[in-house]
C-alpha cells in the first residue's frame, strides 16, 4: 500500500480520538476526579464517623460543596479528626454545624453542613465545633429493644392481681 502525504494528520487524529476514548472510559467508571475549583481546608472532630471515607462528599442543601480529604484518629481526645476541602466559592458562617448522613437508606455516607447564624465566616484551617456523629445501626436496635422492654415491664402487673 502506498504512503500518503496525509498519513501524519490521520495519525494525529487517531491518537487524539484514542485519548478521548480513554478519558471517557475513566470518567464513566468514576475513576477520574478532575475538579479545577480552588478549595480551602477545614477540620472537624466526630465521636463516630460510621462509614465515611476519604473522597466522600460534603453537601449543603444536597449540593456537593467539598470533599473529605483525610480521616485520622486523635489519641488525645479519642475522637476521629476529619479534614475537608471546601470549594472557595462557598463560604459558611463560623458556627455552621456538621452531621454525618446517608444517601438513601443504605447508601454512601456524606457530611451535611448546615449554615449557622454567625456574621464571621469560616477561615482556611478553622475547626468546626458543632458536629453530630453517624447513626450506628446496632445502637439504634439496642435502644429500640430497651424501650420495648421498658414498655413491656410497666404493662404486665395487671393480669397477676387475683
Amino acid at each position: 500500500m502506498q504512503q500518503s502525504k496525509n498519513d501524519m494528520w490521520v495519525g494525529l487524529f487517531v491518537l487524539l480520538g484514542a485519548a478521548a476514548l480513554v478519558f471517557l472510559a475513566l470518567q464513566s467508571a468514576n475513576l477520574l476526579s478532575l475538579s479545577f475549583q480552588p478549595t480551602y481546608a477545614v477540620t472537624a472532630r466526630f465521636d463516630n464517623i460510621g462509614g465515611l471515607k476519604p473522597k466522600s462528599a460534603v453537601r449543603s442543601a444536597g449540593v456537593v460543596v467539598g470533599r473529605v480529604q483525610s480521616i485520622t484518629f486523635d489519641d488525645q481526645t479519642f475522637q476521629a479528626s476529619v479534614h475537608m476541602e471546601l470549594e472557595k466559592q462557598y463560604r459558611f458562617p463560623k458556627d455552621s454545624s456538621l452531621k454525618i448522613l446517608t444517601t438513601g437508606l443504605l447508601g454512601d455516607q456524606y457530611i451535611g453542613i448546615e449554615a449557622g447564624a454567625d456574621e464571621a465566616l469560616l477561615a482556611p484551617g478553622d475547626r468546626i465545633v458543632a458536629t453530630q456523629s453517624a447513626v450506628v445501626l446496632e445502637n439504634l436496635i439496642g435502644q429500640f429493644l430497651y424501650n420495648k422492654a421498658e414498655e413491656g415491664g410497666t404493662s404486665t402487673p395487671a393480669p397477676e392481681k387475683q
Binding site: 500500500m1 500518503s4 501524519m8 495519525g11 487517531v14
Partner: protein
C-alpha cells in the same frame, strides 16, 4: 544531533504520527474489503481453517485447565462465607465476562498471530508481494483481507469454546471432585448470567480483540524488513504489541461496559 533536540523530537513525533496514520488507513482498507472478501469465501475459509482449527487444541486444553483452577480457587474462597453453592455462577461469570475473551486473545496472539506475521513477512522477503503488484493483483485484497476477516470471525468462536470448556472444567472439579451440589451449580449459573449484559459483552470484547490482534499481526508482517532477522523481530513485536493492546483494550472496554 542530541536525541532531545527540538528538531529530533519534532521528527520523531511526525514519524510516529505518520506510522499511526498509515496503520489506520490500512485498517480502514481491510474493513472496507469485507464485501470483496465475502465474494471469495474459499480464501477466507482456508484462513479460518488455518487460524481457527489449528488453535483448537491449545484453546481447548487451556480452557479446561483454567476452568479446573477456577473451580478450586473459587471453592476455597466461597466456602469461607458459606456460599459454595454459588461456585457455578462464579466460574461462569469469570470466564464469560473476562477470562474467556482475554486469555483466548493472548493465546491466539501467540499462536495464530505469530504464524500470520511470519507468513506475510516471508512473503515480503521472498518478493511475492511485489510480484503480485506487478501482475496488478492487489496484495491487500488477495492476501491480507481474507486473513483479517478470518481472524475477526475465528477469535469470538474460540473465546466461546474456551468459556464453555472452562465451565465444564469448573463442573468437574466442583461437583464431581469436591461435592458441591450439581443442581445448585447449574441453577445459580442460569439465574445469574445475563444473556446480553454478560455473554453479549464478552462476545463484543472478543470481536474487538480479534480486530486488534489480527490487524497487529498483519501490519507487522507487512512492514517487516525483508530479512530473516527482520521477520523474527516482527514476530516478537506482534506478540508484545498484541498482548499490550489486548490488556489495554480490556481495561477500557471493562470500564465502559461494566462500569459501576
Amino acid at each position: 544531533m542530541n536525541r532531545l533536540h527540538p528538531a529530533c523530537i519534532g521528527r520523531g513525533l511526525r514519524e510516529y504520527g505518520t506510522a499511526v496514520g498509515y496503520a489506520t488507513r490500512l485498517l480502514l482498507r481491510l474493513v472496507c474489503l469485507l464485501g470483496a472478501t465475502l465474494r471469495r469465501p474459499r480464501l477466507m475459509g482456508d484462513q479460518i481453517h488455518f487460524l481457527g482449527n489449528y488453535s483448537l487444541a491449545i484453546i481447548g486444553v487451556s480452557g479446561l485447565f483454567v476452568g479446573l483452577v477456577l473451580g478450586l480457587q473459587g471453592y476455597y474462597t466461597l466456602q469461607r462465607y458459606g456460599a459454595s453453592e454459588a461456585l457455578g455462577l462464579l466460574v461462569a461469570l469469570s470466564l464469560v465476562r473476562e477470562l474467556g475473551p482475554v486469555v483466548t486473545a493472548l493465546l491466539f496472539a501467540g499462536r495464530a498471530g505469530t504464524a500470520l506475521t511470519a507468513e506475510i513477512g516471508l512473503m515480503k522477503a521472498g518478493e511475492q508481494l511485489s510480484a503480485m503488484e506487478m501482475m496488478a493483483v492487489d496484495p491487500v485484497r488477495r492476501i491480507l483481507a481474507p486473513r483479517f476477516w478470518a481472524g475477526v470471525i475465528a477469535l469470538p468462536l474460540l473465546a466461546a469454546m474456551f468459556s464453555a470448556v472452562g465451565v465444564i472444567g469448573g463442573w468437574v472439579v466442583g461437583v464431581l471432585l469436591i461435592g458441591v451440589d450439581g443442581g445448585a451449580f447449574w441453577g445459580q449459573m442460569q439465574q445469574g448470567v445475563d444473556w446480553w449484559a454478560d455473554v453479549g459483552n464478552g462476545v463484543l470484547k472478543s470481536v474487538v480483540f480479534g480486530v486488534a490482534v489480527t490487524f497487529i499481526a498483519l501490519l507487522q508482517g507487512y512492514l517487516a524488513k525483508p530479512t530473516p532477522e527482520g521477520v523474527s523481530r516482527a514476530t516478537t513485536r506482534t506478540v508484545v504489541m498484541a498482548s499490550l493492546a489486548i490488556l489495554g483494550l480490556d481495561f477500557l472496554l471493562t470500564a465502559t461496559m461494566f462500569s459501576i
